[in-house]
């Protein structure tokens, strides 16, 4: 891999990667089982540089922000490199957000150019939120049909400058990306990630899970997500490896991709991993009793022989059929975005498929700890990566306290939010809001959160405040949304739920009509943002002088009540 210590920016490292491995394949793109594109590093460069020149002709340079809203595909990475080449800041947004949410974040980020897919642009253009973003200068849309109404956008394929662009260097402390970790409903949390953050994180991660030319990484998590940006773009590229994109992420195409492209690594969220487990288990259960027994015996042998560390060659021999289904070249499944239940991790490890679970957050530059598999420990999230200082603050009698992190990978701060930044990074230490402790072997174990938020199994961060606007105007005296575990702390990070707390007007009854209205409003929220319980509170909410709800105090008062008796189903 490239020696990243000598680079000062993401763009500079990528620039050298394209020169180092010109003939290696860097991208494969497949749609519904059909391979659409295969690019070498040289092909990649040939597509990216004319785009960089077009951006420079549009005036893009240092300090400018350019947003990408795209599904996982080759043009995402080509566009990102062109942006870095110009010395500009990339604002990657989740294509799964609603158009109104896109506009809100585009406005907040101050992006002056948007690069997107035509289908997404059609939805964005039709959205009422469009008037919100006035800072826009140009939109580049990919893959528009020949006779399409571009609605003011320029075709990405035609955005090609004739002359060679000029590479614009950036410093390690300059902002490479603004990554939104959440906040489309409340305060947008735009994490300002420096070039140093990425360079350091990449060195740390690849020291444990190396890439090399010939490695094929299957990119499933959205590339705007810190994990996929690192292990599905920057990591493989700085090592001469290849990334495989599937334009359609239906389970059948994902399954097919493993053997077809002999995938080496894949990153998944716990929900997908559990789904894989369910599918495999169902297939095992269908086996005749004798075969099932034989499988169980081999699994036990594998477990015993890989107790200290993985022995992939041996596991592939012992459990050949399972490994063949995964293509036979899988080195590890990287799981992240949310907490994974130990039994799911153990299930895969016993089959000889290492699962690299860890713990991280965008603010810390992706991963903080990762399981080093020596030995595999399903009950922990691993040890701190090289370069990470992790301390437990204010531990209780059991040694459990807030996880804090100091590292060159910690973000510069939240965009336009100096107060929130000052609360989050104190004297150089990032306060994660997650509760944990180290075990005797130095592995981190997590025990819930002190933040008023949940993380779903799909890796979605949902802040309770962000959900409240769905209930604006509800006919009650006041209301508030909480993460149930914030009110009633649990030493657990699974099955996290949101609850709606209402306080009725004097004399108002809790009617069926009100209950129905709550149900309707709740169902308008995207499924992972919905509240799962209702609490009718009978006292006035504690308020600040400016009439804002004192959430901490209200949570404490609610917490004194019995959890099970307080929460009504919705």
């Amino acid at each position: 891999m490239l020696d990243l210590r000598k680079y000062s920016s993401v763009g500079e490292a990528l620039h050298d990667a394209l020169e180092t491995w010109p003939r290696e394949v860097c991208l494969i793109e497949s749609d519904r089982g059909e391979e659409k594109q295969r690019l070498t590093y040289r092909n990649f460069k040939d597509q990216a540089l004319p785009l960089a020149k077009a951006l420079q002709d549009l005036g893009v340079g240092p300090g400018d922000r350019v947003s990408i809203i795209m599904t996982n595909q080759s043009k995402w990475l080509i566009s990102a490199y062109a942006i870095f080449f110009c010395g500009a800041t990339l604002v990657p947004l989740d294509y799964k957000l609603k158009p109104e949410e896109h506009w809100q974040l585009l406005k907040h980020s101050g992006a002056k150019i948007l690069i997107t897919e035509f289908g997404i642009w059609r939805q964005l253009g039709a959205s009422r939120g469009r008037t919100a973003a006035t800072n826009f200068q140009a939109v580049l849309a990919t893959e528009a049909p020949a006779n399409a109404d571009m609605a003011g956008a320029v075709r990405w394929e035609e955005a090609r400058g004739a002359q060679a662009p000029v590479f614009v260097p950036q410093g390690r402390q300059d902002i490479a990306c603004i990554v939104y970790s959440s906040g489309t409903g409340g305060t947008p949390k735009g994490c300002m990630m420096t070039h140093e953050n990425y360079l350091e994180q990449c060195m740390a991660l690849t020291s444990l899970y190396p890439f090399w030319p010939g490695v094929r990484y299957l990119s499933i998590l959205p590339t705007n997500h810190a994990i996929d940006f690192m292990v599905g773009f920057f990591g493989p590229f700085t090592c001469g490896a290849a990334v495989v994109h599937l334009r359609t992420l239906r389970p059948e195409y994902v399954r097919e991709a493993f053997p077809k492209y002999e995938i080496t690594y894949v990153s998944l969220v716990p929900l997908v991993l559990k789904n894989l487990q369910k599918g495999l288990q169902a297939r095992f259960d269908e086996l005749p009793a004798s075969k099932r027994k034989a499988l169980e015996a081999v699994r036990n042998i594998n477990r015993a022989l890989t107790k200290d560390h993985p022995r992939l060659w041996l596991s592939r021999k012992l459990l050949g059929e399972v490994h063949t289904a995964f293509g036979g070249k899988l080195e590890a499944i990287i799981v992240g975005g949310a907490f994974t239940e130990p039994q799911t991790l153990q299930f895969f490890y016993d089959l000889g498929i290492p699962v690299a679970n860890g713990y991280g957050l965008t603010e810390a530059g992706t991963a903080v700890t990762v399981n080093d598999l020596k030995p595999f420990r399903a009950d922990t999230v691993g040890k701190p990566l090289p370069g990470m200082e992790v301390e437990i603050r204010n531990p209780d009698a059991d040694g459990i306290g807030e996880v804090t992190v100091r590292s060159k990978t910690v973000m510069a701060g939240y965009l336009n939010e100096p107060e929130l930044t000052a609360e989050t990074i104190v004297n150089g230490w990032l306060r994660t809001g997650d509760m944990g402790r180290f075990d005797s072997s130095g592995n981190l174990q997590l025990f819930g959160r002190k933040k008023n938020m949940i993380v779903t199994e799909e890796g979605k961060n949902v802040y309770a405040e962000d959900v409240e606007q769905a209930f604006e105007g509800l006919r009650v005296k006041e209301f508030c949304v909480f993460a149930a575990n914030y009110v009633w702390p649990q030493r657990s990070m699974v099955n996290e739920k949101l609850i709606l707390v209402i306080h009725l007007e004097p004399g108002q009854a809790f009617s069926d009509e009100l209950k129905a209205e709550i149900g309707v409003r709740n169902s308008r929220l995207i499924n992972y943002k919905r509240v799962h319980g209702l609490v009718v509170y009978h006292e006035d909410f504690p308020l600040t002088a400016s009439l804002k709800i004192k959430r901490n105090e209200l949570a404490q008062r609610l917490g004194a009540q019995d959890r099970e008796q307080s929460i009504l189903p919705i």
Binding site: Y95, K96, R247, T248, P251, L271, V272, S523, N527, Y528
Partner: protein
């Protein structure tokens, strides 16, 4: 050409079969995540079956955020 009502009814029928719920228990306005008790991956599997049935292709982003049969039917109808 199917009407939107026909498309909706066919979707309901297919979902009834796929997730083995009692016939007639699904309505156009139902939230399929809630009513069928499925997660986002199972919803994607349902989409694949609908694509095969209607002989269309639906990009993933077009059905992102859709959670009721009626809206799903409208998205499918637009591609028929």
């Amino acid at each position: 050409m199917r009407t939107i009502e026909q498309t909706t009814q066919e979707i309901l029928q297919l979902a009834t079969q796929q997730f083995k719920v009692p016939a007639g228990s699904l309505a156009p306005g139902d939230d399929f995540y809630k009513k069928l008790g499925i997660d986002s991956l199972q919803a994607l599997e349902m989409l694949s079956r609908l694509e095969n049935h209607f002989k269309i292709e639906l990009p993933d982003y077009e059905v992102q955020g859709v959670s009721d049969f009626q809206t799903l039917a409208e998205r499918i109808q637009a591609r028929l």
